[in-house]
Symmetry: C2
Subunit: 356 residues, 2 copies
Amino acid sequence: MSELRNDRFLRALLRQPVDRTPVWMMRQAGRYLPEYRATRAEAGSFLDLCKNAELACEVTLQPLRRYPMDAAILFSDILTVPDALGLGLYFEEGEGPRFRKTVRSEQDLAGLASIRAEDDLGYVMNAVSTIRRALGGSVPLIGFSGSPWTLATYMVEGGSSKDFAHTKRMAYDQPQLMHDLLSLLADAVTDYLAAQVRAGAQALQIFDTWGGALSAAGYREFSLRYMRRIIEGLPREADGREVPVIVFTKGGGQWLEAIADSGADAVGIDWTTDIAAARARVGERVALQGNMDPAMLYASPARIREEVATILEGFGHGDGHVFNLGHGITPGVDPDHVTAFVDAVQEFSPQYHRPA
Amino acid sequence: MSELRNDRFLRALLRQPVDRTPVWMMRQAGRYLPEYRATRAEAGSFLDLCKNAELACEVTLQPLRRYPMDAAILFSDILTVPDALGLGLYFEEGEGPRFRKTVRSEQDLAGLASIRAEDDLGYVMNAVSTIRRALGGSVPLIGFSGSPWTLATYMVEGGSSKDFAHTKRMAYDQPQLMHDLLSLLADAVTDYLAAQVRAGAQALQIFDTWGGALSAAGYREFSLRYMRRIIEGLPREADGREVPVIVFTKGGGQWLEAIADSGADAVGIDWTTDIAAARARVGERVALQGNMDPAMLYASPARIREEVATILEGFGHGDGHVFNLGHGITPGVDPDHVTAFVDAVQEFSPQYHRPA
């Protein structure tokens, strides 16, 4: 493996000194880029793109050719694990993800396939190693998975949901069944993320997209607990370097202290949380990743620059900040606005860090 | 006007002693009730139902015939004000609200009608006085409005939205235009709520459904500020009694201290906020309303009772709690589960209050 030439993302996650605040964007390889849309059209469906290592590598690298991002992230979907478990993932245009089967009973649970990520999700590992090779040490590669709770919502509902009626009914009325499902998922995700590290991932992010739909007590019981179990089970080193783990619970701003106790190195925060307040609450224990409102990218470049400056000032002097959006970039954004965003982080952030 | 025979809802909002915790449910007059669906079918469209005082009164009273709720809430829509301003509200089945016109420029703003609620929203005032008369002093009547920010999101987007792209672009790039719109809305909502009080409303709730989509700073600038202005402008007494005001910002759990400073008597909290923590943060300043997860109503009656007990225990001994869901009840709920919910509040709550 090539020597890593830009490690400020990994260093910041471990709260080590950096020359400037590293930056990347959730969903940076995505539909706002015309070159992504072209490759996606070439691949066929979204899933075809995920399963083709060369094309998945191509779209992963596309944003890095345009912007000096400090990290690349594996191009894949959060629902690969439930798909491998036998639920039959498919996408209907404009409808979001769907599963052919759902998990709502003990029989459904018993019917799930037994999987080993290295074999049954080999296409993901192929993509990871292909991308890692193609990066050639330019920036680190982030691997990722959905959180058990987030995966469970899709598996129980059969797709996206507004109120999670079936999932919550299971959690409330059949907590043992829900815990059995979450436990199975925690094991599968641990295996999946560990395999990504062996294939070349240098940092990991757990996307807990729907943890914020739970009550405070429910979050601890059904989401956080299983993310903690995953983190405990992960290899924390590869190639002689630590492999930092980021937990991102969208809507989890009220629970930062608990998330910071999960064993994660870094906590992702969405834009509803004030980053200065977040740092005061947990910044001695974990790094923070975030947190510009993705909708700010619809504003003018001048306004975007102003917002970047405000967030950098909010975090303040010192290390332990990875700049990012508070959620994924949306398809309608002008790619030039991303230039303004990334340039502003590069330009304004060195003053907050001590010279090396 | 008849003497009010059950005032525990009004008393609790003012943190005065009560014999048990009062309870009502957001969207208690709604699609989960077969009698509501029948009246709605008779009325024609949803808007026809809102505009027919007799039928709006009928659906307002329906949940009170089934359940011993401690308050009634005007049956109406949060978008009546933008409709009166000339935007042309309509509903497409399963699609949510839509406007024929949007507000995205100074010209659009200048084109809005000048309204006086008593005349231009006379059908709402008719409904309020009809319902108040029909209640005959059994329980107090809550009037309501959407918050300026929440109304603005629909007016700028032309309907519901996932990411509020147009609204946020306006807020970020043309803050003066957004403030002009919000200012106009704050005046219209103040007039609207004051007219509801004159027509018979005994308490008021401001629904800030989308305040939680803003950043912490954006919430203060674009949402909270205008709710504070409304509260300052409202008549705070009618029939010799105080008219308490509740502010409910869905997703506002991180900002409770700021909301408690808005001048509101009570703060609505959604289910993601721990009610014990909320009381510790702001319970000396305001009453709290909430906060069971509406999805809990999908669970068994036994589980619902358990959750009610947990929330009552979380708030603890003393006054200043109005039991409610953390958001509106959803259409798929079994009406018998609501019985379990309301009965549990009645049964378990007296122990937390001093005997009169």
